[in-house]
């Protein structure tokens, strides 16, 4: 088992090296936009249909261990990244959030927590100003607000993968999130929603797996209200050379091994680290978002570029 494992590790390691030494032009042709039917699946080249299927399979396999793997791969830092995303969004009560590729619901739960605490503060402030009202009035307003602890905010979690949604629903039940949450099965390239519906559209660690990123961005533009915000949290390009080497070392040596040990599936995690390398860097993604029609597009690097948050507004 160990010998087979080390053999397979050696095999894909050498394949990685061979693939990495490909001329830059060919690698670039494998980025995001479809240049003909040939697409990239990690470092392999496949057709669009194949890619969609393969990715579906990957997430079907990892769905149950998705959260555990996230914690072990990023040493728990992914929670901080998602918290930073939530702080950047700074939603106020009454916001409608669409979380695409949000399978296990991390962003959705954080959103609900954030909005709840903002709402609490709002209610406290209102109570402070209620010094001159009669008891009846205070009681009435308290009643009204008590049943509105989220302030009409709602989050819709949309994912293409049924398994991931199942895991998400179970988690919600387990953690006690019931109101303001809905789960929808849908494809990011073809969202089952009307135009101009949502205040914020987020896609956390999901846009990498979308086959046609430009279509996903166009759909995002379509479903957002005027003034709505697009937020994308994704692994990105590390420019610091020393850190980049360490990061590569960690990605290719440690993560697939963790995948095999914890989830019993190194192939999926090999795909994951390869897909990170194939994803367009920050500036390119920014240009793509601008092409879809968003304004004030900006990105913020977290951890020197390991992760980047891109933000754009539909104005």
């Amino acid at each position: 088992m160990a010998a087979g494992l080390s053999l397979s590790l050696w095999l894909w390691r050498s394949r990685c090296r061979a693939l990495l030494s490909r001329p830059a032009g060919a690698v670039r042709a494998h980025r995001g936009l479809a240049a003909g039917p040939e697409m990239h699946f990690g470092f392999q080249s496949v057709t669009e249909e194949e890619r969609r299927e393969k990715i579906y399979q990957v997430f079907e396999n990892v769905a149950k261990k998705y959260d555990v793997m996230n914690d072990s791969m990023t040493l728990g830092i992914h929670r901080v990244w998602k918290d930073i995303l939530m702080h950047k969004m700074n939603p106020c009560p009454g916001t409608l959030l669409l979380d695409v590729a949000g399978g296990t619901g991390d962003i959705a739960f954080r959103f609900i927590n954030y909005v709840r605490s903002v709402r609490q503060r709002q209610l406290q402030r209102k109570l402070k100003h209620h010094q001159n009202l009669s008891w009846q009035e205070i009681f009435d307003s308290y009643q009204k607000d008590q049943f509105n602890s989220l302030g009409d905010s709602q989050v819709v979690v949309c994912d293409i993968n049924r398994e991931m949604l199942k895991v998400g629903k179970q988690k919600a039940q387990h953690l006690g999130y019931s109101e303001g949450l809905s789960w929808v099965l849908g494809n990011a390239e073809e969202l089952p929603f009307d135009d101009d519906k949502f205040d914020v559209y987020t896609i956390a660690f999901g846009i990498r797996n979308v086959t046609r990123i430009d279509l996903a961005l166009q759909e995002a533009y379509r479903v957002l209200k005027p003034g709505g915000r697009f937020l994308c949290l994704e692994f990105s390009h590390v420019s610091n050379p020393l850190l980049s080497r360490l990061y590569d070392l960690y990605s290719f040596q440690v993560i697939p091994v963790l995948g095999e040990v914890i989830a019993g599936d190194w192939r999926s995690y090999q795909y994951l680290v390869e897909s990170i390398r194939q994803f367009p860097p920050q500036e390119e993604l920014k240009a793509m978002i601008e092409d879809a029609g968003f304004f004030k597009v900006d990105y913020e690097n977290l951890n020197f570029g390991i992760v980047a948050i891109h933000s754009g507004f539909k104005l």
Binding site: G94, V200, L224, K225, P226, G227, G228, F295, S311, F313
Partner: protein, 350 residues
Amino acid sequence: MAAAGGLRRAGWRLWRGRAVVKCQHCPPARALQASAALRRAPDEHKKEPLTSSSQQHFDSPPAGHQPEQEPRGTHHSYTGQGGQESEDYESEEQLQHRILTAALEFVPEHGWTAEAIAEGAKTLGLSVAAAGMFHSDGSELILHFVSECNTKLSKLLEKEQKLVQLGEAEKKPIDEFLRDAVEARLRMLIPYIEKWPQALSVLLLPRNIPSSLSLLTSMIDDIWHYAGDQSTDFNWYTRRAVLTGIYNTTELVMMQDSSPGFEDTWRFLGNRVADAMTMSNTASQVQSTGEAVVQGLMGAAVTDPPLEKSRTLFSIHTMLSGLGYFPLLMFGLSLEQIHCTDEREDLDGF
């Protein structure tokens, strides 16, 4: 001398101007496509969101700097490449101004926060997420408000000056002019007076100090300009420093004032302006007193008193009083510089 003063003034205005037009150094603003909520855009703009957005890229660089010089909130049409006439375009900056202006009416309720900006965006038909364009502590809202107030003040002073020039109104004496200008400016704070301390604290954040300082100095400069100040020496700095001090202290008094109609504040303001006037009058008096003291000391050293003891006592006495007067003398000598001897001055008493 005059050239140095002129150079200093030019440098001052340049420094101010740099902060005001700093947006020109930002990447060129792309023309916004009008969405139905923002303006009643013609239908053809909505049907081709993608193709025209790439053409907007070409439209904006040549015309990108125009929106900054246009008055806020107006439409302007410019023809892009391919002869495409695009009306109802506005830049991101203009939209941000509109949102901030709309947000001001929610400030008394929500304070200078992102919530007020979100409510403002809602009234314009935008999503509440548009408040994400601004910093979450509301600094942009406050700076926008301050610069709007300064613009209003300038317009007011300009109007008054026109009336004086046309002969319909009398030229005010300098202290009354300053008092009225500062009062008019402070009255603009009255609707937001409860949340203004919060705004002041945000303006003092290190991030905001350059912009808030430049807004303050430009306002003071404006007031002095309309007051008729044409000084070109050290006077220029002293006057602005004194007026800044008056303005800041009056603002702080206003925060804590609970008298009806802010009477205490205006009285305080009048007293401070009067103090400033008297200070310059006393300057010359102190100078002559100082000269008299010096002569007295010299005389004491030369005179021949009858007794040794009384001579020593007398010299000690003059020494002590001389020492006591010494700081006042120095102060007077420095104030002498304020009292300008320039013949071109037509400002009486200051």
